[in-house]
């Protein structure tokens, strides 16, 4: 029995499911890809998924703190991307390689 309301009435659950799907896509990206930069991008995807659920919860609870959390998450994500890319660039400049398997050969 297909309930048409599922398609016509958008509620919190829809946003949460969307967020879950995006999160798992990001997770697949992190698990499967070998390029370090694409893995960083997949992490950004996961953070975006989390942001959607933050804002959805915030709206359906009538609480603005969800949006503030998203603000903070965005800041941290941008900082993470900056550091991650800086590391990737310095490794690439030296070894011409961004494959994640290669990184385990690096020693201190």
């Amino acid at each position: 029995m297909v309930n048409t309301n599922v398609f016509l009435e958008i509620g919190l659950n829809h946003y949460l499911v969307l967020s879950t799907v995006l999160f798992c896509l990001g997770m697949i990206g992190v698990l499967l890809r070998k390029n370090a930069i694409v893995m960083l991008m997949s992490i950004e995807l996961m953070l975006n998924a989390v942001n959607i659920s933050f804002i959805a919860f915030g709206k359906y609870n009538s609480n603005i703190d969800g949006q503030i959390m998203v603000f903070f998450v965005m800041t941290i994500a941008a900082a993470e991307a900056a550091v991650g890319l800086a590391l990737a660039v310095s490794i690439f400049k030296r070894f011409k390689e961004v494959n994640i398997r290669f990184f385990e050969h690096l020693k201190g």
Binding site: Y15, T20, M27, M41, I64, M74
Partner: protein, 176 residues
């Protein structure tokens, strides 16, 4: 109501399609461009959730800054179409996919199971009389003021670290 539903499904479709392309495209530049598209779609999803300011910030910070950085770095690297862009091993790959699918199933199941609670079905209450951006600013600078200052310091530290990283000529043994 129908227009909202249509908008949601359209945005959900474009968001997920963008996400799938990020994961599956072998050329990193195309993956980055589709991630930018996903970011814009997510900003639109924020708009449907009435988080207008955060949607704008999503556009400025994520789509306009972070993804531009990614695309620029990929162009600097000049990474061509990779032959081996996915991890080796069919079995492990299948297990990883299965794990992600299982997590998705578990989460969706949990969401649907808990939807009978007071959160899921309750319609959002009437929007607050005050402008939501002003409320956001008010909360940010009263309740979360220390987190805000800490983020300022964090950004400073990151700037210093990044400049230092780009300064180092690579190599792992001392200075050059």
């Amino acid at each position: 109501m129908t227009a909202d539903a249509f908008l949601f499904w359209f945005l959900a479709l474009s968001t997920v399609a963008g996400g799938v392309m990020v994961v599956s495209l072998t050329n990193p530049i195309y993956a980055a461009l589709s991630l930018a598209f996903t970011m814009v779609s997510v900003a639109a999803v924020f708009v449907t959730l009435e988080a207008f300011f955060v949607a704008g910030v999503q556009l400025i910070v994520y789509a306009g800054a972070v993804m531009v950085l990614f695309v620029m770095v990929l162009m600097l690297f000049d990474l061509k179409h990779e032959v081996e862009s996915f991890a080796r091993g069919k079995v492990t790959g299948a297990i990883k996919l299965l794990a992600a699918g299982l997590l998705a199933g578990l989460l969706i199941g949990a969401i649907l199971y808990s939807s009978s609670g007071e959160l899921g079905s309750s319609a959002p209450q009437a929007a607050a009389q005050i402008d939501s951006t002003k409320t956001l600013g008010y909360r940010l600078f009263t309740q979360h003021i220390f987190a805000f200052e800490a983020l300022g310091v964090l950004l400073l530290v990151i700037a210093v670290g990044v400049v230092a990283l780009s300064r180092s000529k690579g190599g792992t043994h001392g200075k050059h």
